[in-house]
């Protein structure tokens, strides 16, 4: 017992010692603080991390930026805003970074956005989709890479309109992302197709959809078409239950994000063929930029990239490009450099808009297809987000004054 007790106190002392130990300060690197919900969004963030690690390796192999190597200090953000703010503070005060990046969840992304604005730290939000990061709660210090909720919906609009369906059912996770997506969809559709009817709305709690009952309720409403915003395990459950119950039979389904390998791969041979989706058909994109990325990625990891890999990779490429253009890591210079910054990523060139700090990185829109027992996309095309984002004057009204 005494030994065990000793071990116990050793464990505590050890833990405390680690907490006060400082990482060696390397002078010849540019430190970037990265934080994300690695423990709860593993399916997306595992490839994401691989993506950014590969980008950093490539950048440093070419001598880094401004003659210095990039060094990423990566942290788990605890998957909640309170911890995320503390971790961000830790990166800034203890690690001495003045560039933050990462986050997945909308609320942690927004909390770090708010933190960055208050503490005057540069922040490139990688993945959170909420429109508020660049619009209602946007600030001078925050930029965002990922194609935001509004754009994801707007990209699907032409196909949704072309289906010429009157009765629509809506199904979405009951939190901000789902609500915003559906609100945008309703507004955009009503504007172009005034006689549209929304026959049912199902808003199950995130991660807890009772798929059988929801699929049945949708079917009972007898819609002509369905707009889906469920993703992850909710999407998987809906596809299986809806498939057994014939909910999707002879109906147009428009679905956000469902073409991303993260969400499409788990359903395997049950991939819902014909759904109109935004996504990432990694095995079919033949552009030279993407082929180069794909080859390098497969060589390094012996695995195929997911959309997370693209986001992680492009995030670090953006930061490298921004720092190079700024010629310094000074926060104000970096902001100026990012406004209008042009970046070449695996999806081709895109830029960060000066008006709302949103990147124009787009997404692939197409139909889900089944090949060799696996879901993929067909009839797809790349939609540049610049073509669907509102104009500068419009977003100026949405953003608070700096």
């Amino acid at each position: 017992m005494t030994t065990a007790r000793y071990l116990g106190s050793l464990a505590i002392t050890g833990a405390l010692a680690v907490s006060f130990a400082h990482g060696a300060l390397a002078q010849d690197t540019i430190k970037i603080g990265e934080l994300n919900s690695y423990k709860t969004q593993t399916a997306f963030l595992d490839p994401y991390k691989k993506g950014w690690e590969m980008a950093i390796e490539e950048i440093n192999a070419k001598g880094g930026v401004l003659g210095k190597k990039l060094e990423i200090v990566s942290r788990d953000d605890g998957s909640n805003p309170g911890d995320a703010v503390r971790v961000a503070d830790e990166l800034v005060t203890r690690e001495g970074v003045n560039i933050l990046t990462g986050t997945f969840l909308s609320n942690t992304g927004l909390a770090v956005t708010e933190f960055a604005g208050k503490k005057k730290v540069f922040f490139l939000a990688a993945e959170p989709l909420t429109d508020k990061i660049t619009w209602q709660n946007g600030n001078k210090y925050t930029f965002r890479l990922r194609t935001q909720t509004y754009s994801q919906v707007a990209m699907l609009l032409p196909d949704a309109l072309a289906a010429k369906k009157k009765r629509w059912a809506l199904v979405y996770p009951n939190y901000e992302y789902g609500q915003t997506a559906v609100a945008a969809f309703k507004e955009l559709m009503k504007a172009k197709q005034p006689d549209i009817e929304f026959v049912t709305e199902q808003a199950p709690p995130l991660g807890k959809v009772d798929a059988g009952a929801v699929a049945q309720a949708i079917d009972d409403a007898k819609p002509d078409a369905i707009f889906n915003v469920l993703f992850g395990a909710d999407f998987t459950k809906l596809v299986r239950e809806g498939g057994t119950r014939g909910t999707f039979k002879d109906r147009t389904v428009v679905s956000v994000l469902s073409g991303e390998p993260e969400y499409l791969d788990p359903v395997k041979e049950e991939a819902p063929v014909g759904w109109i989706v935004t996504g990432y058909p990694w095995d079919k994109i033949k552009t030279p930029e993407h082929t180069a990325f794909l080859t390098a990625y497969q060589k390094k990891y012996n695995d195929y990239p997911r959309l997370g890999s693209i986001v992680g990779y492009t995030t670090m490429k953006s930061l490298a490009a921004g720092i190079a253009k700024a010629g310094s890591t000074d926060t104000d210079k970096l902001i100026t450099a990012f406004e209008g910054l042009k970046v070449d990523g695996p999806f081709g060139p895109f830029m960060y808009r000066a008006s709302d700090h949103q990147s124009t990185l787009g997404a692939y829109v197409g139909k889900i297809a089944l090949e060799n027992g696996k879901g993929t996309m067909s009839d797809f095309k790349y939609v540049d987000a610049a073509t669907v984002l509102p104009g500068d004057a419009e977003v100026k009204k949405l953003r608070p004054a700096d």
């Binding site: 909640n80 830790e90 609320n107 927004l110 508020k132 059988g212 009952a213 009972d220 299986r240």
Partner: protein, 628 residues
């Protein structure tokens, strides 16, 4: 909604009910006999889904699926037995609820273990061989597997009933549920009984999980979802009652199915989306049931368990040595901005630690001396954060007013919920507080216009003179010290003595004229108010808040802090909160598998200090004194 669609949804609900019942039954059995609140029950369920997935896909076919379900149940049952023998058996003599801490550590370890073994991607199993299709019913398609599930729940219920009524093991289980000390006195091998019950409960969890692979993917989030559902079902049905669990599962599943079936309903010009109610339906049911029937639908009043733990020492004013130590600590804390001049993060972390200390101490106030195990203490923390943030956002209130609003809103919430909660005791009280916390959470989550919904409220920053890190640190330190000392003062005042009298012997306390309920109710309100201060400080420390400040996770963190420090000591929550907050912060940075490491360290602490860290030290000191 037509009648036939209503009927069909009701049938749908029955298949969900079977799933709910299977997770809940095991939890109920384990609690009934061992009185352990097994938080890891959801993890066992999750492991069930993963193991069954592996067997179904690697072996394949009918054997892999159906045989896999049986093998999974057995394997998870074995794991349950191992948990009981290797871990829980060592800490049965610890204070009440302490085992909860050990099972919490297991949740962390199992989750990371599953990530390590099966990877991050969701894994969808095959459809059930032989039951892939659907049949026509009421003009709709009902999956054959759902029909199978509808019958499997009642079948297991019947088997369990038979087992409990007819077998010797079952009779012993029932006897132990009623009076386990007597069972021990009659010469029954309790160790074997407990191991057996734990294995059986785990087996049911594994079985329940394995059955789900035909309907939903194995994911790492399953553990917490399953344990949440299971708790509700068990409590609504009545702890230890298997039939009650089934009845509760049916009611909850049917309420949800009805909400989904109703969808959007128009009342005049006013549209209500009932499907959004599924967010909180089960907790509403639980609150209503517990208010109307305090021991659940089919439960009986909990028999007072003669504690196997060592009797709790009466609280004593601090000795001069402790007072000096406390003073030294205070001086160090006051000088911290100077000491830590070169590492400003120390202050950032210290602010978080102080808030955690205030949170844990207020929980300990009702949990320890009050004897009311609140599982929903985050409600008052959250009300505090939102009290402050809403005042800032909507009324542009100055920081002083906002910080005053935080404890007021929290105390109001505590007065409201406490009024109902003090009428119950033991685990029912715990679950009612949890239900209230979930209702608050759901209201905040759903009331987008007022509270900002899931994104929360942004831009709650301290104003001058507290806008510098040092100043805000001093403010937090001052309020935390005042809060802790105030609660301590209450405990040594007649109020504290009456509160403890009500805990230790409600009958005698009533007999000498103490209104136990009112005293406990006031205790609830005081703890709520102090917790609200912690919440208010939290809002200003972070600059933005979101509904997770009210979430189950935070409530559990509070319990972990109190138990880790030692529930029977007054400095326990302070030490527990500090250790937990610092550990978590440190470990999150050390490794990708930080949850497993944190769980491992908590397990180690649990085994080394079975009465909490402070409790362990006190024992050590008193033993030293006795020997010298």
């Amino acid at each position: 909604m037509t009648f036939s669609s209503f009927l069909f949804q009701a049938i749908n609900g029955l298949s969900s009910a079977s799933g709910l019942f299977l997770v809940a039954a095991g939890l109920s059995l384990i609690f009934g006999v061992t009185r352990i609140v097994n938080i890891a029950h959801g993890s066992l369920y999750m492991l069930g889904t993963y193991i069954a997935y592996t067997l179904a896909t690697k072996v394949g076919g009918g054997l892999g699926f159906w045989g896999g379900i049986v093998v999974t149940a057995l394997l998870v049952g074995l794991l349950g037995a191992a948990i009981e023998v290797l871990l829980l058996r060592r800490i049965y003599r610890a204070p009440e609820l302490f085992q909860l801490l050990a099972t919490f550590a297991l949740v962390l370890v199992f989750n990371d273990a599953a990530l390590w073994i099966w990877g991050a991607e969701d894994l969808l199993g095959p459809r059930a061989p032989g039951l892939q299709g659907s049949i026509q019913l009421l003009g709709r398609r009902l999956p054959e597997y759902d029909i199978f599930l509808i019958f499997i729940g009642p079948f297991v219920l019947w088997l369990l009933h038979l087992g409990l009524a007819k077998t010797r093991f079952g009779r012993l289980m029932r006897a132990a549920t009623q009076d386990r000390e007597m069972v021990g006195a009659l010469g029954v091998n309790q160790a074997m009984l407990f191991t057996g019950v734990f294995a059986l409960g785990a087996m049911l969890a594994g079985f329940g999980g394995a059955l789900q692979i035909a309907r939903e993917p194995a994911t790492l989030a399953t553990d917490l979802i399953a344990i949440g559902d299971a708790f509700v079902v068990v409590v609504v049905g009545g702890m230890g009652s298997i039939s009650g669990a089934y009845l509760a599962a049916v009611i909850i599943a049917e309420v949800k199915a009805l909400c989904i079936g109703l969808g959007v309903v128009h009342f005049g010009g006013f549209a209500v989306n009932f499907s959004k109610l599924t967010l909180v339906a089960e907790f509403l049911v639980m609150a209503i049931v517990l208010i109307a029937r305090p021991y659940g639908l089919l439960g009986r009043e909990q028999v007072v368990v003669r504690s196997v733990a060592e009797p709790e020492e009466p609280i004593r004013p601090a000795s001069s040595a402790v007072k000096i130590a406390g003073l030294v600590l205070l001086v160090v804390m006051v000088c911290l901005p100077l000491i830590a001049k070169n590492s400003p993060y120390t202050l950032v972390l210290s602010i978080d630690v102080l808030i955690a200390v205030l949170f844990a101490t207020s929980l300990h106030f009702i949990m320890g001396p009050g004897g009311m195990h609140s599982f929903g203490h985050a409600a008052y923390f959250g009300l505090g954060t939102y009290g402050a943030a809403l005042l800032v956002k909507w009324l542009a209130a100055p920081m002083g007013i906002a910080l005053l609003g935080a404890p007021l809103l929290a105390a109001a919430g505590a007065l409201l919920f406490g009024w109902f909660a003090v009428r119950l005791s033991g685990v029912y009280l715990a679950m009612l507080t949890l239900a209230f916390a979930q209702i608050v959470w759901a209201s905040v989550f759903q009331w987008e216009e007022l509270t900002g919904g899931s994104n929360g409220i942004l831009g709650v920053w301290p104003s001058a003179p507290f806008d510098s890190r040092n100043a805000f640190y001093f403010l937090t330190l001052a309020l935390a010290v005042i809060g802790v000392l105030l609660l301590r003062r209450f405990l040594f005042a007649p109020f504290g003595y009456t509160m403890r009298a009500g805990r230790d012997s409600p009958l005698r306390a009533e007999a000498i004229g103490i209104n136990v309920k009112r005293i406990h109710w006031l205790g609830f309100a005081i703890a709520g108010a102090v917790c609200g201060v912690a919440g208010g400080l939290f809002a200003f420390a972070k600059g933005s808040i979101s509904p997770d400040t009210i979430g189950i996770g935070r409530s559990i963190d509070g319990l972990v802090m109190v138990l880790l420090g030692g529930i029977q000591t007054l400095s326990g929550p302070i030490v527990g909160a500090s250790v937990f907050a610092v550990l978590q912060d440190t470990i999150m940075r050390t490794t990708d598998y930080w949850r497993a490491l944190l769980g491992g360290i908590i397990l180690l602490l649990v085994l080394v200090f079975p009465s909490g860290i402070v409790g362990g030290f006190i024992k050590l000191v008193s033993r030293r004194k006795a020997t010298s």
